[in-house]
Symmetry: C2
Subunit: 222 residues, 2 copies
């Protein structure tokens, strides 16, 4: 059986779960509390991050970016990184945007400070980081809105890994009540389409002890 | 002509310069002072980072990871991401290690605090960040040493993008005098081999106003 080590609030885990479902690859989820730094897990993935994928042939693949490139090569029937060189470039640029820039400027400052820091026993959220995170989030929501307004899906004509990367971050932040949906109607309409995909439903059904998501979180017509 | 927008101390720019040279693709360098946020440059690369590559057919490729995947697809004669699925996974894992984890835990805390912060007018280096950067660097040098000791090149039998990603960070830190070469003899021996490659010489010849690299920096037998 294919196994995916994950955390429910990890945007990177969410992206890979949705990609596996879109490619119709069955898998079993295993919760990995990365802050415990289990030696058996570090042997699989020395970076100690989630997700890590174990293929049915026992191949181990760490890092969500590496996993998605691997899945694209191994299971190319439903291409998610585009077909032409120009499509590859735009999909990967936006994946790097959300998993690099957005992750650093927003996710790390909000979910990182509010949840991961406490779980790792590194103290209370830093007020300056939270303020920076919310300010950056607003700008990013405007950019996401612009992409959603000018294109069918955010990287172009077809749904792609860029949509799943963006939705991984947005959905985790929405779970924490951090998304102001009044900023961009186009972003909201794009996210409603993402939420309605069958691949996304199990992600929206996840719950985390001690956190109650807002009422609209799993609502498809929010 | 192919154009690469870069900064001399950017590890990501260094990696792409070396990859272009290894693949024997001629290019012209353009210095981009990203902290000036030139509107013409932001139109090419909205993330405002270096490097950005402009191909002879005027295709624009932003983000060093996206550029390297593009170059591998467009110019596959000399493969730098490996040939088998297992090789792809290990090369990309280590690229993600250096350009993700190492960059965040070390480069950002040292070069980011000492140079980029001042250039961007965001004040003086933070003492806590510097201390964390040096402590993390020591652990990373031990890991690099272990890779160099147990393998011919860091991802396996052949030189790969993983070596160029690692050397991009190590060389930029070495320029600033931040590398303690006594930590690992194997890491040092690996880096001497990297320095002796013709693709690496132009990178080592770069100078930055106001910074004098240590005497061993461009010395092949350091």
């Amino acid at each position: 059986m294919r196994i995916l080590y994950h955390l429910p609030l990890s945007p990177f885990s969410r992206k890979v779960r949705v990609v596996l479902s879109e490619k119709r690859l069955p898998f079993e989820l295993r919760l990995e509390k990365v802050w415990q730094r289990r030696p058996e897990y570090l042997a699989l993935n020395p970076a100690g991050t989630v997700p890590t994928l174990i293929e049915p042939d026992e191949m181990v693949i760490a890092d969500s970016g590496v996993i998605c490139e691997y899945l694209e090569e191994a299971y190319p029937d439903l291409p998610l990184i585009g077909r032409t060189a120009a499509e590859h470039i735009e999909v990967r640029r936006l994946v790097a945007w959300f998993d690099g820039k957005f992750a650093q400027e927003v996710t790390r400052n909000l979910l990182g400070e509010k949840f991961m820091k406490r779980l790792a026993g590194r103290g209370e959220p830093d007020a300056l980081a939270l303020r920076a995170g919310y300010a950056n989030l607003r700008q990013h929501m405007e950019y996401l809105g612009w992409l959603a307004e000018t294109r069918k899906w955010i990287a172009g004509e077809t749904i792609s890994l860029a949509d799943f990367a963006a939705a991984g971050h947005i959905s985790a932040l929405d779970f924490a009540g951090d998304i102001d949906w009044s900023v961009s109607g186009s972003a909201r309409e794009w996210y409603a389409r993402m939420k309605s995909r069958p691949s996304f439903r199990p992600v929206l059904a996840d719950r985390v002890p001690g956190v109650t998501p807002p009422a609209h979180y799993a609502d498809l017509d929010f």
